[in-house]
Amino acid sequence: MGTEIYRDAELGDVPNPERTRESQRTPKGVRVKAAPVHYPETRKTEKDPITQALGWFSIALGAAEVFAPGAVARLIGIDEDDHRGVLRAYGIRELAAGFGIVSRPKPTYWMWNRVLGDVVDLASLAKAMRSADTNRTRLAGATLAVLGVSALDVLCSIQLTRDSAPTTGHDDGSFMLPETVDGTQVLSAVITVNKPVSEVYAFWKDPANYPRFMSSLESVQITGDGRSHWKVKAPVGLSVEWDARVAKDIANEMIAWESVDGDVQNTGSVRLRPAGGNRGTEVELETQVKPKAGPVGAKIAKLFEAIPKTQMMNDLRRFKQLMEIGEIVKSDATAVPRMHPARPPKYSELET
């Protein structure tokens, strides 16, 4: 269910029928359909088939319990007449959970409801086991079946609960945490800069510019041959450095780099596109960090996890300031590296 964005290549964002017709005559104004943009929609993720099957199982069992409690009682080996009422009640519970699971895109609540139901069922079966009117063989079979289904219920519920935790940074709208895919931390942010694409491209072309606005970088040294040496600000005792090479470079469109050797495996890219109506350039930055295994790798992973979306966005704002006004704007409070009231800092407090 992606959102499709149509864009008039030359004419701005709003499709204008008049101008479109005109544009069809001239190659310059050809109306193009930009590549559709797909936003991840975790809410609509394909429910796994086991969960879906458990939902239908609930509906079937519930219907049987409500409409034919006698038959169900005989099947599981308990006394028919004593249990009609309680079986009907359990049936209603099953139906509710079943419809909840089948109809909800993300039935976490209803799956846990099923788990709770399993506990009640097992308790009831255990109680029935001690009753004189019980066919123990059948009841044991029923108990085994319920235990098996319970295990599935628990597994699916845990899976669903884990999926809804805000690890992706997209689903909950917070955009705060790096998305982690197979141990790789992915972070991206976008900003519009009031400068032509060529000027923005020229700036990104030189990695030595990056530490000027990327607060986590200590230095980037050009080592020649399209290679550079990157060093990250790290706590004392931890050194995080790597050599990087340009992986892809399309003039005025994108630059991607990747680490070739060093303390952490990472890639990054910056994509540029003209913003409509002379609004400058849209700049999208993405980084992927894959820490190595082992205790040092874990420490480095922590270091990168501490770089949230907000920091990347602030980096891009500083980049925008460098492009548009040539320096990074300071206020009395932000000129000092720690919390400071809005009053002139002393010289000794100033960031060097």
Binding site: E324, I325, E327, V329, S331, D332, A333, A342
Partner: protein
């Protein structure tokens, strides 16, 4: 130097603080000759504006003499006498270049905080919370002014501080409020709030050719000033008169063509609705009290304009969107794009069309700032506008 600092709700104090220094190449340092307490400073004073910190220097209305400039400042020089606009604007971003200076995209180094509360960030502002940048304010002996080539306006020596100081905020703010009404011949404009911004909105509606201007407040001394200083045609004391009825009567039942809200987030209303808003705001269940805005919307004629220049901060209750939608009302608002208005309004002053000093009720020394805040907040001693001089 000495500066007036925020020390917590209802507590300001004049303290010794370090002198300002050039932090960016386009900064200037101004020796403040006159500064004023703004009605919006009272929202800080009363503790309704989030992200204030103990020790923040207040003040965003100030003027003075340039005493130092950064190495990239070209248009102004040491010795110039300047009025400083309250929004800080870089002049280079898309918003500045489209004349929307209070939306400067580069001047708020704490944009990320504002973004969390407002969706996107507006410009940085002097002495107005950390969410709007954490810039020291101008209620001090000296102030650092970023982008000194963009904001500060040189003013002629023959005009006194009292006449030009309000170009920094309240005159342009009131003027923009009137301008957003899109006044046409025959229009009736109603203005809620006769504080300094309301006074300038009334005076500006006059300058822009409104046929009839109606002023609404609850303090007789402010209504009197609206009649005598700002030339309002009619004044209504909302504690004595049913405003909606009176406005219908005055406009042949149509309602005012445009309504200006110059009240902001600490509005008052008589009776139960007023108590309701006070209770909710004090429990932080709503950010702003909006009784005057509600009334302005209900009063406005079908298809008319609501112009909001009073300051609001967050999420508000019982907003009559039904009236706005069903009666085709237009809402226009914004922190004033002061840079847009300074020169034309200076010309109005030079031509003698208006003397903005008519709003001043008190002049005192910077050292007396706490007294000024107190009487202004309590509307004591017929206080309308306090000017502080170092």
């Amino acid at each position: 130097m000495r500066a007036n600092c925020w020390e917590g709700a209802k507590h300001v104090k004049v303290e010794d603080v370090p002198d300002p220094k050039i932090l960016n190449d386009r900064d200037a340092i101004v020796r403040v000759t006159s500064t004023a307490i703004c009605g919006s400073d009272l929202h800080l004073f009363n503790g309704f504006m989030p992200t204030m910190e103990r020790g923040d220097i207040l003040g965003h209305e100030f003027m003075g003499e340039v005493v130092e400039v950064g190495k990239k400042v070209k248009k102004i020089k040491v010795g110039d006498r300047v009025v400083v606009p309250f929004p800080i604007a870089c002049g280079q971003c898309w918003s500045c270049q489209h004349d929307m200076w209070s939306l400067c995209e580069n001047s708020n180094p704490n944009a990320w905080i504002a973004e969390k509360m407002l969706g996107h960030s507006p410009a940085g502002v002097f002495g107005y919370s950390h969410m709007l940048g954490g810039f020291a304010g101008g209620q001090a002996e000296y102030a650092r002014v970023p982008f000194a080539d963009v904001g500060p306006l040189k003013v002629p020596e023959d005009l006194s501080d009292e006449k030009v100081l309000f170009l920094s905020d309240i005159f342009p703010t009131g003027y923009m409020g009137a301008e957003m009404c899109g006044i046409e011949p025959g229009d009736t404009i109603a203005v809620w709030g006769c504080g300094p911004v309301g006074q300038f909105a009334i005076a500006s509606a006059r300058l822009l050719g409104a046929e009839c201007v109606i002023a609404i407040d609850r303090f007789p001394y402010r209504l009197k000033r609206a009649r005598e200083g700002a030339a309002a045609d009619v004044t209504i004391n909302y504690e004595e008169t049913n405003v909606l009825e009176a406005l219908k009567e005055l406009t042949g039942g149509r309602g005012p063509d445009a309504c200006i809200d110059a009240v902001g987030l600490e509005g008052h209303a008589p009776g139960l609705p007023g108590l309701y808003d006070k209770a909710k705001q004090s429990m932080r269940l709503e950010s702003d009290r909006i009784p005057s805005l509600r009334q302005a919307i209900l009063a406005c004629r079908n298809g008319g304009t609501i112009s909001i220049v009073g300051v609001y901060s967050g999420f508000d209750d019982k907003f009559p969107l039904g009236a706005v939608m069903n009666r085709s009302l237009t809402i226009r608002t914004g922190q004033c794009h002061v840079h847009r208005y300074m020169k034309p309004l200076l010309e109005h002053i030079q031509n003698g069309n208006i003397d903005p000093s008519f709003v001043i009720s008190h002049k005192m020394s910077l050292e007396d700032a706490p007294v000024g805040y107190d009487i202004f907040n309590r509307k004591e001693d017929d206080c309308l506008k306090v000017v502080l001089q170092a």
